[in-house]
Structure formats: structure tokens, C-alpha cells
Symmetry: C2
Subunit: 311 residues, 2 copies
């Protein structure tokens, strides 16, 4: 490995001159530049990115914490983030958390150690209070509605979309709804439950909710528990499609199945869906991460009515 000081010794110029010649910052006489660059070429010299980072005090890395990338929520955010990071000079580092508090904490610690310039949490397991102290080390962006106003966030305001969906279900004579959600305690779960209770005027019971639903296989696996409900409200179109498949296979009359994210699977089956605009969310998340301002932005969900013609 040739280093800058090797070049300095070999060409006879000082390290500063060599540095200027190589980086192009500051003045160097044409002859000097020529000699230095020639020498650099012949030795296959390349500046060391890590050393540059150290000298500059930063590495332009942005950490993106995702539990996994199986759910469209995370895939779409990732897609949005990458799209905006493109050509920005920032690198996106994927940090899988598996919803594990300790891992999240580990990443926060790495953040503190300057491993990342900014951190985007697509999902948070640990409490906001534990995150707040890390804000002094750089921008932290959450992807759900925070409790505090003192932390950047971009999130989808899902209340309206969900209420529209439940309202529509009521017009379809639906009396009972089963839910397929990812986790028992999560922002998604509470928003869903709240919207349902508001629209239907009744409490959600434990029997109505099944958790552990992330992919279509989960929908298929859990579909059995959705028998007897007039409608199923699933955490994504793919999960909804899994449910659909199960009922279809068993030749059992299907409930109305509502999905989310306006995915291909839902469109193929003409399932009604809630579009939470997560792609856009990802784009904004990146913007927030590289801006120094603390800001909270919300996006509205849309409900898309569709009728399952294959029912």
C-alpha cells in the first residue's frame, strides 16, 4: 500500500503539496502536480477513505435500522431511502434489528461512536426516552408518530384511512372483524384498534386479533383463526392474499379481506386496501436524516375500495 508520505518521499515534495495535488484542493504548480500524479499512477496510489474520514471527522454513512425486510413497510421505506440517497454522497448502511432492543441499543452506541452520521429507525422497540439522549450525536429520524415533539419523524397518519376502511366495511353489513397484525404491542396495533373501536363503537377482544403476521405465508397459516368473521383486516396485501388463498383452497366462503400498501397481490385479487404511502415516507426520511433541522411530517393514508370479484 502506497501512502501519501511515500509519495512525498519519492517525489521530494512535502506531504501537504502531495495532498493538494492529489485532492485538487489548493494550489500546486503544474510541474509539481504532473510529477506527483505520475508517481501516484505508477505506484497505483489511492487515498485511503478511512483516513480521509478520520481527518474530516465524518464518514457520510446513514444507518437504516430495520427489523427485517420481509414486510412491504420496510421494503418500501428502503426503496424510498435508496432512491433519495442516490448520488447524494451518502451511503446507506442496513442495520437489521429483528425488533431486538439490545440490537437497537447497539446501533445507537455505534452511532455515538460516530459510525453513522444519522440514524433512521423504521421501527422502534426501545422507548423514546432511551433514544432521546442519543440525539446529541446527530440526526435521528423515526418512522412513526413520536410522543415527544423533540425528535424528527416522518410517519403516516393512518387514522383516517383506517376509519374509512372500517366505515366502508360497515356499509357492507360487516358485523365482526378479525385482525392480522405483526405484534401485540406496536403503533400499528394501537392505531388499528382505536380506529375500529371508534367506528364500530365496540371494544376489540383478544379473540379478534392474531399477531405474528408479516408475510403471505403468515396470512395463510393464521387464516384458520379468521373463520367466522365477516371481514378480515390484514397488515398488508400480501398477508391478505395469504388469507384469501387459504379460504380459496378450503373452498370456504370468504370474508371480506382488506389489505394494506396497494401491492400487486391485492390488485390481482381485487382486495380493498389502505395505501400508507411508505415509498414517499422513505424519501422523506432520508431528507430529514441529512437535514439538520428537527421536524415532524405526516402523510395521510388512502383507502382504496375494491370488490373481490373472485369471491
Amino acid at each position: 500500500m502506497t501512502s501519501l508520505s511515500d509519495l512525498s518521499k519519492l517525489t521530494g515534495y512535502s506531504k501537504s503539496t502531495v495532498s493538494r495535488a492529489i485532492s485538487g484542493h489548493g494550489y500546486v504548480s503544474p510541474e509539481a502536480k504532473q510529477k506527483i500524479l505520475d508517481c501516484a499512477d505508477s505506484l497505483d496510489y489511492a487515498t485511503n477513505a478511512i483516513a480521509q474520514d478520520l481527518a474530516k471527522g465524518t464518514n457520510h454513512n446513514i444507518g437504516l435500522i430495520v427489523p427485517h425486510i420481509k414486510h412491504p413497510f420496510f421494503k418500501q421505506i428502503l426503496e424510498g431511502v435508496l432512491e433519495k440517497s442516490f448520488d447524494s454522497g451518502y451511503k446507506i448502511v442496513i442495520l437489521p434489528s429483528d425488533y431486538d432492543e439490545n440490537l437497537e441499543l447497539k446501533y445507537l452506541e455505534q452511532f455515538r461512536k460516530k459510525a453513522f452520521e444519522a440514524l433512521i429507525f423504521t421501527s422502534v422497540q426501545i422507548s423514546e426516552e432511551k433514544i432521546r439522549p442519543y440525539q446529541k450525536y446527530g440526526p435521528i429520524v423515526l418512522c412513526h408518530k413520536p410522543q415527544s415533539s423533540q425528535i424528527s419523524a416522518i410517519y403516516t397518519q393512518r387514522e383516517m384511512g383506517y376509519e374509512k376502511a372500517f366505515g366502508w366495511l360497515k356499509t357492507q353489513n360487516v358485523k365482526t372483524v378479525g385482525f392480522l397484525l405483526a405484534r401485540e404491542k406496536s403503533p400499528t396495533t394501537s392505531v388499528t384498534v382505536r380506529a375500529y373501536e371508534k367506528v364500530f363503537g365496540q371494544k376489540v377482544t383478544d379473540q379478534q386479533i392474531m399477531t405474528g403476521a408479516v408475510s403471505d405465508e403468515d396470512g395463510y397459516r393464521l387464516a384458520d383463526n379468521m373463520r367466522g368473521f365477516d371481514a378480515v383486516f390484514a397488515n398488508s396485501d400480501n398477508i391478505a392474499a395469504g388469507v384469501w388463498q387459504w379460504f380459496d383452497e378450503k373452498k370456504i366462503p370468504k370474508p371480506i379481506i382488506v389489505g394494506q400498501e396497494k401491492l400487486l397481490s391485492g390488485s390481482l385479487l381485487d382486495l380493498p386496501t389502505v395505501d400508507n404511502h411508505y415509498l414517499q415516507l422513505g424519501r422523506e426520511a432520508f431528507r430529514l436524516a441529512i437535514s439538520k433541522e428537527m421536524k415532524q411530517i405526516s402523510i395521510e393514508s388512502d383507502f382504496i375500495v375494491r370488490a373481490d370479484r373472485n369471491k
Copy 2:
């Protein structure tokens, strides 16, 4: 920002002792350790990851070059890579290339500058000869079959799967096949064409091939051009589903539509599909990237027969 030398001055111990106390490498007396750690705590000290990387000469970053993440090929590889990177101490940096030679070259240059310890190309636009010289800077892994045996690669041997698919189409009395592919010149395109020509015993004409197909929308958009063919061979189940949707909407009798990747969309429509095992490919790619050995591994595709019952 407190630094190690701050701690050294404040505690009165040398930088080396402080370093040992903080890192836990090497001996430090209990009292010294106590004092140093206390002082570190009270000053909110954290080691600087970048400086550590410099001193160690590496950063444990693995660059994953992807054109985009819209196609299941890349999504699945990414998923496999992340799965294996989990808890490995390596960080996955996503490098979007948009199939752009210059971007690929830019990433190779960053690799040379030690920005990454290893590089995985999920897709390559530039020639192998241009990549080869960079191998001296660390492991480079390709995700398709390379020309040279002197470069690590993990790829799916798709010939057999494709030939089975075309063979099956023949048994279905298919005479003409239309293709929906991503790019005109690509490994995928040539393998597909070769398998078709072998099985059907005739040359593929330009009219048979449509390129620019990546997502289901593309399938839908390009479906018009697939009229008149007995069968359509698409680059993924999602694209196949897009085609299906178009025909379904227009109420035009559907050709046999073959997809790839064994995705939910194909399963919902009971479309036959070729499974190229890209998740597994991603896992292996990570393994190769962190191993120092040069190796080429191949995986076999499977063809999954299904009949479109909604036809």
C-alpha cells in the same frame, strides 16, 4: 467530544493505559481501570469508530452493488445477504448502480480506497476485465456465471430450469412464445434465448422479445405486444401477473404465462414458474465475500408446473 487523550490527561494515566482500560485488551490494574472508566463515564466518552478503523486498517463494510431493488432478484439477494450478515460484525452498504458503468467504476474505486472490505456485484454492466484488476484490493463476488475462473461467483444455473419450462410448454401444444425481459443484452437474456432455441429448434426473432420489464406495471404495459403468442415467458412472477391482469381486463383469451422466482403473485394466479433460488444465492454471496478463498458455486433452478385455473 472527549477523546482518549483527554482521558489520559485528566486521569493522569498514559494514553496506552487508557486505551487498554477502555478496550479491555491488555492488563490494567483494577484501581486504574476503575478510575479511568469512571472518568470516561462522567465525560460521556465513547471511542471513535472511524479512528479505530484507521488504526486497524479496516472498517468491516461490505458493499452490495444493486442496479435497483425493484426486481425480486435483487430483493431476494439482499434478503439473503442481510440474513447472513446478521451478527457477523459486518455492515452491509447498499450501492445503487442503475446499471451504470460509471457508477460501478466509482464503487470499484471506493473499494480500492478501502471504503469496503469486500464487494458483491448482484449485476454487472462493466466488463469482467475491468473488474479483475480490483481483486487485489479484496474479495469481489459476482452473482452470475463469470467468464474467468479467477473470480469468485455464486450463480444460478438456469439452463435446466428454463429448458424444462420450454419443454413443458411444448407438451402444452405451444408453438409461439413471447418474452418479457429486463434488458436486451444481459446474461438472463442470453440464457433464455439459448434454452428456447435448443428446445424449440428455432431462432428467436426480435418480434418475440420485449425488454424493459422489471415490475408488474411493466408487464401490464407491455402485455399488448404479447398478443398472438401461445405462451409468454416473463422475467418474474410479478411481471407475469401484470400480463395476466392486462389480458384479464381486456377479456382477451390468455396465453400460458410462465413466471419466475416463485412469488406470491404467481402462486395466487397459479402460474407456472421457474424458481432460481435467489435467497440462497444471497446467503452464499455473503459467505464468499467474507471468506478469503476464490470460489465459484452454482445452484440449479427448478421449474414448477402450475395450471392457471382462472384462465
